[in-house]
């Protein structure tokens, strides 16, 4: 079954199951940076998103879609499953793997800086281009997708997420370390930082689709810093990406961003679009 079919099936299930009223936590406006808000216990969020890259050299444009299932296992623990793929202009398409991630919030209360610990296992191949984080150095490989999908990689990734709520602003910083278990590439490092805020401050009495309180705007910066084997600055990839998030309904959020490549090894731009739908699947009542 193709990733597109899985995505459509997942979305239809979400729409079918989502008839009950429910409470909704925050869908983060960022694509790469994580904040300290976890999925509410018992809530499932189904999201589909794509990363479309415009490479700097003569390589073709690519689009990498992914399906994301995020579930609140406890107030302090959120788990996610990702399925991802890629399609290119002239170099083929394919399934690029899956990831399972867990986020743990060790402290009961929110603090000036609230830490979250993140651990992810990735079973992906070299064709993966969703770039939900960037680590290490060097540009993406642009061989035919059929060749790249033969090169499997098992990777472990850890993040320290630091996030603060300052008035109407969110400020988040992520420090990333990744280890490829399939090849000796040392420890690869990356980062992302983001700031975002609601456009509206006081809620209106009536429901409205386009009023400012439904929008969050911000900007994030992310990139790879190299590895324990190589730290060449000229090989690093860095992006700067304005983001916007629109709360379309009580249950769903649409978000978009354009990431501008700041270094020669990065793409010209990364266009990202995502849609998330949240529903309760496990309640006491």
């Amino acid at each position: 079954m193709s990733l597109l079919r899985i995505s459509i099936l997942g979305l239809l299930c979400a729409l079918a199951l989502g008839s009950a009223a429910f409470a909704s936590a925050q869908e983060r406006p960022y694509f790469v940076t994580y904040d300290h808000y976890l999925e509410e216990r018992g809530n499932l969020e189904i999201a589909i998103a794509t990363t479309t890259g415009i490479p700097k050299k003569n390589e073709g444009v690519y689009t990498a879609p992914w399906l994301e299932l995020e579930y609140g296992l406890a107030g302090w623990w959120t788990a996610e499953l990702y399925l991802e793929g890629v399609t290119t202009h002239g170099a083929g398409h394919g399934f690029t793997g899956w990831r399972v991630e867990n986020r743990f919030r060790p402290l009961r209360d929110e603090h000036r800086i609230t830490p979250v610990l993140y651990v992810e296992y990735e079973n992906i191949n070299e064709a993966s281009r969703i770039q939900k984080e960037i680590v290490g150095s060097g540009s993406l490989p642009f061989e035919p997708i059929a060749e790249l999908t033969q090169e499997q990689a098992h990777e472990l990734e850890a993040k320290l997420i630091l996030s603060s709520a300052v008035g109407v602003w969110n400020i988040s910083e992520n420090i990333i370390v990744e280890r490829n278990l399939s090849a000796n590439e040392g420890f690869e490092f990356g980062y992302s930082v983001g700031v975002a805020r609601h456009l509206g401050s006081l809620a209106r009495a009536t429901s409205c689709l386009l009023c400012p309180e439904n929008f969050v705007i911000g900007i994030e910066a992310y990139g790879g810093l190299g590895s324990s084997e190589a730290f060449a600055r000229s090989e690093q990839r860095h992006y700067l990406a304005p983001v916007v998030s629109w709360r379309v309904s009580t249950r769903s959020t649409l978000k978009a961003s354009v990431g501008f490549g700041l270094t020669s090894t990065g793409d010209h731009a990364l266009f990202r679009v995502g849609y998330a739908y949240e529903l309760p699947v496990w309640r006491n009542r």
Binding site: L38, G42, G167, R285
Partner: protein, 140 residues
């Protein structure tokens, strides 16, 4: 490939098992969950803006009603907010609890809402308590 699929299946099954264990148990009341004195002393900047209560009602319906009930009367997931024990708390204490959340009880963190919207929520919760909308079905 077989090994990775087994790993995935094991992760999913353990997640489901843990979820079932936790969802089956009622949320615990955290008696030690209290706002710091400086936070509890904060005043509601909208206390003279009763017109903002309707906005609080809307946010409550969107963010809180599934767990706390349509009229804040409480459910098996979360306590009533119209109890005297809640009414006795200062606006600042309620603001801190809404903002901070409590990972032990599953109360989400709502500091992503602009501060004025959190103060609007408190206006609505107070209004519900004043009208006696509680049925008292929620747990403490």
């Amino acid at each position: 490939m077989k090994v990775s699929m087994l790993v995935l299946a094991a992760l999913l099954l353990s997640s489901i098992f843990l979820t079932a264990r936790q969802a089956g148990s009622p949320r615990e009341h955290d008696a030690r969950w209290a706002a710091p004195p400086t936070e509890a002393a904060r005043m509601n900047p909208l206390s003279n803006r009763r017109d903002a209560t309707e906005g609080g009602k809307k946010i409550f319906g969107q963010r809180c009603s599934t767990c706390h009930g349509e009229s804040a009367e409480g459910t098996s997931d979360a306590p009533s907010l119209t109890r005297a024990a809640v009414g006795r708390q200062s606006d600042g204490a309620l603001f801190w609890k809404i903002s901070s959340g409590n990972t032990r009880t599953g109360m989400p963190t709502f500091s992503f809402l602009p501060p004025l919207q959190r103060w609007q929520l408190i206006l609505y919760i107070r209004a519900q308590a004043d009208t006696g909308g509680a049925t008292g079905s929620g747990r403490d």
